[in-house]
Structure formats: C-alpha cells, structure tokens
Symmetry: C2
Subunit: 348 residues, 2 copies
Amino acid sequence: MSYVRPEIAAMAGYVPGEQPQAGKFIKLNTNENPYPPSSKVVRAIQEAAETSLIRYPDPLGTPFRIRAAELWGVEPDWILCGNGSDDILTILTRAMVAERKLLRLPYPSYVLYKTLAEIQGARSQEVKFQADWTLADDFVAPDPDLGITYLPNPNSPSGTILSPDQVLELASKLEGPLLVDEAYADFADEHCVSLVKQNERIMVSRTLSKGYGLAGLRFGYLIAQPHLIAELQKVKDSYNCDALSIAAATAAIDDQIWLQDNVDRVRQTRERMFEELMQMGFSVQPSQANFLWCTHPDWSLKTLFEEMKAKRILIRYMLYPEWGEGLRITVGTDEQVDACLAVMRSLL
Amino acid sequence: MSYVRPEIAAMAGYVPGEQPQAGKFIKLNTNENPYPPSSKVVRAIQEAAETSLIRYPDPLGTPFRIRAAELWGVEPDWILCGNGSDDILTILTRAMVAERKLLRLPYPSYVLYKTLAEIQGARSQEVKFQADWTLADDFVAPDPDLGITYLPNPNSPSGTILSPDQVLELASKLEGPLLVDEAYADFADEHCVSLVKQNERIMVSRTLSKGYGLAGLRFGYLIAQPHLIAELQKVKDSYNCDALSIAAATAAIDDQIWLQDNVDRVRQTRERMFEELMQMGFSVQPSQANFLWCTHPDWSLKTLFEEMKAKRILIRYMLYPEWGEGLRITVGTDEQVDACLAVMRSLL
C-alpha cells in the first residue's frame, strides 16, 4: 500500500528539465545563467561555512529582507524569503487554494503551477494566451472557487511579457490574488514590482536562479503587502532558507553592478542568437527572458532536439497538447551559443 | 483582505525557539550541537561554492542517497532527501493527510506536527504519554480518518525513548503509516532504522541538524520502502535541497568517525549535567537525546528561565496545557554547561 492521498497516487509527478550529472554537455535546456556568480557571493558562502553551520538560521532571512527592501523601496516586512521561488509558489498554493478549489494559469506556461494544484487536491484552469501572447478577459473571469491566479511574466516558453499597465488592468478585474512570477524579469525591459503598492491583490515573486546565476543555491522571494506576508509566514517551514543561502543571497543582491553587467551580456547574446536563428529559417519569438522560443516550418523539432542531444547539446523540446510544439533554447555564453548554432546548421 | 484559506487565517503559526541574531548568549534552547562540524564538511561547501552554483542541483540528491544507503544497508531508492527534516515532515503530511482527515501524535512532543495538520486543514489528535513515557493502545487505535501517526523517538521535551521492539509492536497494531522521527537518535543507545525493512508502515526520518552539528545547513532525510519514496517524490519541491547542502551532507555522513567522537563528548557532558542538576534538587528525566528535561519541586521554572535569560543564558521553558511545565536544557560544551549550572546555582 502507498498510504498517500488518492490525488497523489494518481499524479504522474512534475518532471524538471534534465540535469545530467555526468558527461560533458552544453546545457541550454533549463535557463540557467551561463556565467559564474559574483565572487562576493562565493566569498560570503565560504565565510558562512566557517561560522554559521551549527546554529539554526534566521527564520525570516532578516539580512536579505533588509537589502531586498532597500532595493525595491519597501519595508522588510514586504519580503518573504523562499527556498527557491518554487518554495514561494508552494507556500502560496498551500495558503490560498483549498482542496477542490481552483488555481488559474495561462497556457502554455510553467507546468509546475498545475502540479502544485494537483498536490493540493485542487483543480486548475488553463486559459490560453491569445495569438499575440496577451490574455483576454477569460483569464480574469470571476469564479467563486478561485484561490489564486498565476502569471509568469516574462512567460516561459514564449519569453513574452505583459506590460505593467496590462497586468494592472488584469488585476483590477480579478477578484482574488494574482502572483506575477518574475523569475525572468532581470532580463526584461519592464517589471511589476511597483504595482504591489498599488493593489494588494498583486504579488511579485523573484528568483536568484536566473539573473544572479545561483540556480544551485535555491533562493527566491516574494514581494507583497505586509498583511499577506504575515499570513504566508505561517505556512512556510520555520527554517526554509539555510544560513549559507541567506548569506549568499544577501551578497548577491548587494552586487547590482555584477547583475547589470551579466544581464547586459546575456541580452546581447540573445539578440545575436535571435538573428541567427531567423536566418536559419526559424520562426523566433522576440524574448524578454534568457531563452528563445522557436519553431521551424520545414523540420521536425523533436528529431532536431534528439540529434542535438546525441551531439551533447541539450536544448528543450516542448510539446503542449492542443497548442503546439517548439524548441526553447537557453541563452548561453557566446561560445556555447556558437557551438549550438553550428551543430544546428549542420543538422538542418 | 488576506485571501488565505480560513484555516490559515485562524492559525497562530508555529513559533520556533528563539534565535537571537545579535548579542552574546549561551544558547541552550534549541538543541543544536555545541561543536563545529567536521572540517570535511566545511571544505566540501567551499569547493561546491566554486563549482556548483550556476546549475540546478541534482533533484534527488543522488550522492547523498548513495552514501546514506551504504550506511544503513539499503538501496538508494529507500532514501528521500529533505531541506531539513521539517521538509520531510511537511512532505509526509501533504502526501498522506487530506483536509479534515487526522494526524496523530503523542503529547507532550514536537508541537510542529500539530501545526502541519493545521496548515493542511486536517485535524490532529494528541495521545498522552503514560507516566513512564510509554504509549498505551489509544495511540494505535483504528480510525478511518487517520492519515499518519508521528512518533518522535527519542521524544522532545522528555528525552525518553521507546525501544525498537516497542515501536514494532505499536506499528503492528496501527492501520496506517508511522513516522518515527529520529532527529535525536544519534545520541541514543538504540534506533529503529532496521524496522523499515520489516514493516512497510514504518518510516524513519533523520536530520543532520543535531548529531552532525549542521542546523544552519537544513538537511534531513527519510528512510522508507521504495514504493513510498516514489510517491513522496511527487510532493516535494523539484529542487528541495541545494547544491551546497547536498555536498555538505554527503561529506558529513561520510565522516562517521567525527560523528562518533562528537556524540561521545555530548553524552559524557549529558551524564555530568544530569548528576549536577539532580544535586541541585531538580527532578531530571534520564535522556537519550542532547538535552535534559527537568522540573523542580520548590522553584518557579518560568522565573528561573527569565532570570537566566537576563543573564544571557538561554534555556527553554515549556508549558504544556493539561500536562505540566518544565525546563528543557540543551547539552552544550562543558564550558557552556558549567556556566549555565553556575548561574542556576546562584539563582536558586
């Protein structure tokens, strides 16, 4: 017997992007940053390893909250630290979506939202993006069962973004809370953090996995009005962030110069990669994130993905039922991207 | 509006033991190990900080699972890694206890179990320990709503333990799964890991926060039969353990010589501390953990706790409604314990 709830037994389980632990791959499949993090982060970890292991960590990640609050012009009690932004999403889902209630998300977007609803024994409702990657009013339609609405912005796999004005308009029509998942916002022209002050229903999550190059660290955070943060703190594990990651994350957001340099580099490579993929005949979506979403009129994308994997270049093939398929390619270093494009050219 | 589920809004929230982030305290209130961890752990972190931050970590913590499996004589698929054993408890509760169903725990024990039931919208049932700290058959009574039963062993606050035979007998009467929470088992004479092979209903959780001196790291794990582990993996966050903690935890369990030395020291200090508290007139429970539970016939324990805090010695005062009160004092270094006992003597 498995002893688990029937909803869990029925689940397939979320499958994260491949993380080959052995062998040399050029890995452009899970949108990590290609550059090593700030040396200040590495130093902060090495110091914390000498001093901070035997005691339980600060339950709220106070040093990080103080820095993040300064960065965004809010008070520390507007910040909730998470063990990766997945932890933030888990906390929000557990806090706001009861069994059999509803979680809403756009389609196609981050599959994990749906998995979180399944774990919670809740229903999920996927609302299709329109052809121009905006969302119609069915995304904000009233529903008495609606617990929370998730909006990845920039979206994955498309790399598209809704402007703050568009997000504010959606939120003003919604009756419940809206989580704007800004995992990729470091690479975008605009973001929605300032909306949190304007509308208590808008919450913004961030991660240090992408722009800060710290996917291995697991650190994310939420910006929301303090009365919401106070409720969410009840749901998180007491010590959800460890002493090393708090020290590292604090050093990371303290180094905004590193972030800006890094983002500039990734964006430059992104634009070049965009042009070259277009020249190869791909249809490529202009991207506000650190990846590109593309399709090709003449080629089997699945075959191309597999042939590239055989040549040890990992990109992401994605098939969305009732919607379509495509390749999502992470923006790597110039070298990685050149290698990827060269292999691709040889296969087309 | 808070937008959270009514059960969350109604919760007080779990309050972990005080973690003063400033000032010099002798901190004997949250059962951390007083000694710095193995230098191999520190080195593993410092190396991982140089190499493992930009990529997502191994979702299953494979290197740790392999080592832990070797240690316990099982296969790696019997091990589930967690972001602290609190994460393991959260995963188990979410997987096995539906809304309005039942979670059972002994009383007095770890308050967090009850909080986990509250977050889940489930009910909890506390079954009182008998006077000799064993559990009668009401702890294993059938109930169609029972999702999981939690048994901390050694127990906190008492430091008492049930033998493997006693645990096996309880499990054989139970109809559902039994989690034996062995957070403190490194300090005990016996443990229940071998029972996991004998009865699929028995699962054992461990933490590296206590015996290994790594409370700041957040690493715990579960030992259970593989078909259960497979279900629980669906419920955990994809990357619940970060790259640094996986590297550190693997180095830690690899250094069993360090563990044994450390445990020996703590146990020696524990026995001396026991004797001295008895000489001061305390009634002290013999302990299998790294803390002592004591009461005093003549003194206000609350007052003693506060007076000691004023002198910057933090111990834990605990009041269990309908049961009683006591002081739970962590076994520190010999120096810390001497300072604690000296201040106590001066106050009595």
